[in-house]
């Protein structure tokens, strides 16, 4: 530890931050007090220390007063530690000879009503920081290699956009999608607002490009099992789920579907149609191969239960089939691609950065009490499938219960959104617009039909959508009713909707053929588990938390991990694409460097004291500490140590130290704080 001798020439720069600090903390008193503190040779205050003139003031003072250590008293170190350390570095100081005293977030702002105590606290914080700084060593960052390869989690539109952007710029990408096919929710849509394009025109070329891209390794039907490592050097274990179809042999002829005796509700059609146990969601799905769903295939269930349990199944022609005997798909396959013995496989990939694009789901209808489960009460995505020319009804708006054309349809916006009691408090951002689009398409399909929309506020705030919604009301005579449905119940052929129109104050009753719920967008169910594996934070709803809502919207607090699309918050398609490109560009910037520099304030071993007890090895979460087999002392891997300090506390012989976070520094800070009142008392 060099220069830790307490003889540094220390300079203090106190920032007013406009009135943010100076409006509460008495600047003059702070500067006067601090000037008297041992070791301080210079102290100044300025309106905005972070501005160009503020930084120049620092530079001049450093050279004029030959300062070799600095405390900046201002906002949180997360905002300006780097800024000021750069300033210090530009004058030849080691950046670790500058420390931040946070007197804004931790002092002036939360104690705005108590200026006197806040001033006292600010002085104490600065003094403690000075004492800690006196023992700081000058450190140089460790150089670590950078793997210029990215992992993208999620094969929806956000993940594909990110992957293509990175791959087309020349870097390799590993794309992991949990479902067997690419495309995400966008592939389920009938068309997009406000231009009414068919999403296939966008998504199918993207899917094809991803699947055939020489620099993209696609793992569809795969999940992230484990992530270890750190920025530049992540190691990812990926579970490739068994599809029971040999991709190399399958030519997607489709002959296996018909013979399969099992029919279950199709996830892609959101239960409006059935699919077989061996299936592909739609003809253009990518990758072009079916999978066997081991939850419904009677052969696989039978094999899994090892003959226990009943896997007999009644086929459509009323034969009883014993599952273990069923080999219908295998027998039908001309290519010999069916392989019931296939197992999940684990693969390991090394990447330098990660994009999380796990998307969203719709909120479960179960939480919304009044919407009884009735086949004619459907959700927005189901209605998309009804409208879709390739959907279960070939685009005819038939109600699910009896296949009759729905003549009166009620849409309910904010089903679960903006509902603090049963649903989620936030707005799902896209419902107002897709509901308007659905009513338009409905009127095109059923010209004599009547559409009603219950809404709270119409949120058509995207360019071009205001006109779209207005046109809706005027041209297609959609009835927009401001209010929430109070009761929805079946009444014979019809579904009754009761509500109050809050604009007229009148009660309304509508006898509808079908009700469409614009269900709230919620994070995908696996988001929390994945976030934990990646060591990133989720908010209370389960959306991934960005590093800064305003200025770092696609970064996370864990370096090397970025967010794209609705994993972060409900977004429409353009915003999703913009954030996906944004996340990609953050990675492109990262990859443009030759190596990464690693924080040097990490653990180190005093070999003369170490007894080789391996306590530090057992507490290290990163396996950064190991025992040197020859010397029988601990070793720290500089590239892997994250500088948490756990080993320091665990070390019984106190051989392990944390650079610039030494016990002596903690003792000195504690002394300043604990003695503050004692001294005055």
């Amino acid at each position: 530890m060099s220069s830790g001798n307490g003889t540094k020439r220390i300079g203090i720069f106190v920032c007013h931050c406009g009135l943010n600090i100076a409006g509460v903390v008495d600047m003059e008193k702070v500067v006067t007090e601090i000037r008297k503190y041992p070791g301080v040779v210079y102290a100044a205050d300025y309106q905005y220390m972070c501005s160009d003139p503020g930084q120049n003031l620092m530079r001049e003072a450093i050279s004029e007063h030959r300062l070799d250590a600095i405390v900046n008293a201002n906002c949180s170190p997360s905002l300006h530690e780097k800024t000021f350390r750069n300033v210090a570095a530009s004058e030849g100081l080691n950046p670790y000879n500058l420390e931040i005293a946070n007197i804004r977030e931790h002092c002036s702002w939360p104690h705005a009503n108590d200026p006197e105590m806040a001033t006292r606290k600010a002085i104490a914080i600065i003094k403690a920081t000075i004492d800690r700084l006196k023992l700081n060593a000058a450190l140089e960052p460790a150089v670590i290699p950078l793997k210029k390869r990215a992992l993208v989690i999620g094969g929806g539109i956000a993940g594909m956009q990110s992957a293509l952007t990175i791959a087309n710029t020349g870097y390799e990408v590993v794309l992991v999608e949990s479902s067997p096919w690419l495309g995400g929710h966008v592939s389920q849509l009938s068309s997009t607002f406000p231009t009414l394009d068919h999403p296939a025109c966008l998504i199918e070329p993207m899917m094809a490009e991803v699947a055939s891209h020489p620099r993209i390794t696609l793992y569809a039907y795969a999940e992230i099992e484990e992530v270890s490592g750190y920025v530049g050097n992540f190691v990812v274990r990926i579970r490739k789920k068994a599809s029971f179809v040999d991709t190399a042999k399958c030519d997607n002829c489709g002959l296996c579907f018909d013979p399969c005796p099992v029919s279950v509700p199709s996830e892609f059609e959101r239960g409006l149609a059935t699919r077989k146990a061996i299936h592909i969601p739609f003809a253009q799905a990518v990758p072009q191969r079916p999978v066997i769903d081991n939850e419904s295939c009677i052969h696989l269930i039978r094999v899994k239960s090892q003959g226990k349990g009943d896997s007999r199944l009644q086929t459509p022609d009323s034969r009883l089939l014993d599952g273990s005997e069923c080999r219908a798909c295998k027998e039908a396959c001309p290519a010999g691609a069916i392989d019931y013995s296939q197992q999940d496989r684990l693969v390991e990939e090394e990447v330098g950065a990660v994009i999380v694009a796990t998307g969203h789901d719709l909120i479960s209808r179960d939480v919304l009490g009044e919407y009884l489960s009735d086949p004619d009460i459907i959700d927005g995505l189901q209605f998309e499938r009804l409208l879709c020319p390739t959907g279960p009804t070939r685009g005819a708006v038939k109600r699910p219960s009896d296949g009759k054309i729905a003549k009166e349809v009620v849409w309910i916006s904010c089903a679960g959104s903006r509902d603090t009691e049963r649903g989620v408090p936030y707005c799902s951002r896209v419902c107002c617009l897709y509901v308007a689009k659905q009513t338009l398409l409905y009127k095109r399909a059923v010209p004599d039909g009547q559409a009603y929309v219950f809404y709270m506020d119409i949120r058509s705030d995207v360019m071009g959508t205001e006109e779209f919604v207005q046109g809706m009301v005027e041209k297609s005579r959609t009835m927009y009713l401001r209010g929430q449905a109070s009761k929805i119940f079946r009444d014979g052929e019809k579904i009754k909707v009761w509500a109050t129109d809050t604009l007229t104050g009148k009660d309304i009753e509508i006898a509808a053929d079908m009700v469409v719920l614009a269900l709230a967008m919620v994070p995908s169910t696996t988001a929390r588990v994945l976030a934990r594996k990646l060591n990133i934070i989720c908010d209370q709803h389960g959306f991934m938390t960005e590093a800064h809502l305003k200025l770092r919207p696609v970064d996370t607090l864990t370096s090397g991990i970025y967010l794209a699309g609705t994993a972060q918050w409900p977004k429409d398609i353009p915003d999703t694409l913009a954030s996906a490109s944004g996340a990609a560009s953050r990675i492109l910037s990262l990859f443009s460097r030759a190596v990464l520099l690693h924080e040097p304030a990490i653990a180190f071993v005093n070999e003369r004291v170490c007894v080789g007890c391996e306590q530090c090895v057992s507490v290290c979460a990163y396996k950064a500490t190991t025992l040197d087999p020859d010397k029988k002392v601990a070793r720290v891997n500089e590239a892997v140590c994250e500088g948490c300090g756990a080993c320091v506390v665990a070390c019984p012989s106190k051989a392990m130290k944390h650079k610039n976070w030494t016990p002596r520094q903690f003792f000195d800070m504690v002394d300043v704080f604990a003695q503050e009142y004692v001294g005055e008392g």
Binding site: S78, P110, T545, C644, A646, F667, V670, F673, E676, V678
Partner: protein, 144 residues
């Protein structure tokens, strides 16, 4: 340790984990949530780097209460540091009792980076509780 107007103002030292509690404190400040100014913040990289010796030192030097804030279980930035600290503090508290110091003077809490509200509320609660406990017996012993 009476303040000038006679009301007891406890001396409180806080060790805040850089990734969660210190960030929550930033958020509490940014959203202008108010809490008593008694707490003196020390940023640590991880709650697991808070050696019980630091806590003891603070108490011996006159602190009336010590607060350690870490990440929510399962969300530790360093994987499992908060669990390590939880075990250490539990053991440490039993020793404090034998020394005749109320173990309620040591608070270990999990406050995530998004919980500015919780941080401010916890600080209000902590300060109130320490006021209720009165001056630390360690300190009383010496200042008489």
């Amino acid at each position: 340790m009476a303040d000038l107007d006679g009301e007891f103002e406890p001396v409180l030292v806080g060790f805040f984990c850089n990734w969660c509690t210190a960030t929550a404190a930033d958020l509490a400040g940014t959203t202008r949530l108010q809490y008593p100014p008694n707490i003196r913040p020390i940023r640590t990289m991880c709650s697991s780097s808070v050696d019980p010796v630091y806590i003891l030192k603070a108490l011996l030097r006159g602190a009336d209460g010590v607060f350690i804030g870490g990440c929510v279980p399962g969300d530790c930035h360093y994987v499992s540091g908060n669990f390590k600290e939880r075990r250490r503090i539990a053991a440490f508290k039993t020793i404090l009792d034998t020394l005749g110091l109320e173990h309620e003077r040591i608070w270990l809490r999990w406050i995530s980076a998004a919980e500015g509200q919780k941080f401010a509320a916890t600080m209000r609660e902590f300060t109130a509780k320490m006021k209720e406990l009165g001056p630390s017996p360690f300190k009383k012993g010496w200042s008489i």
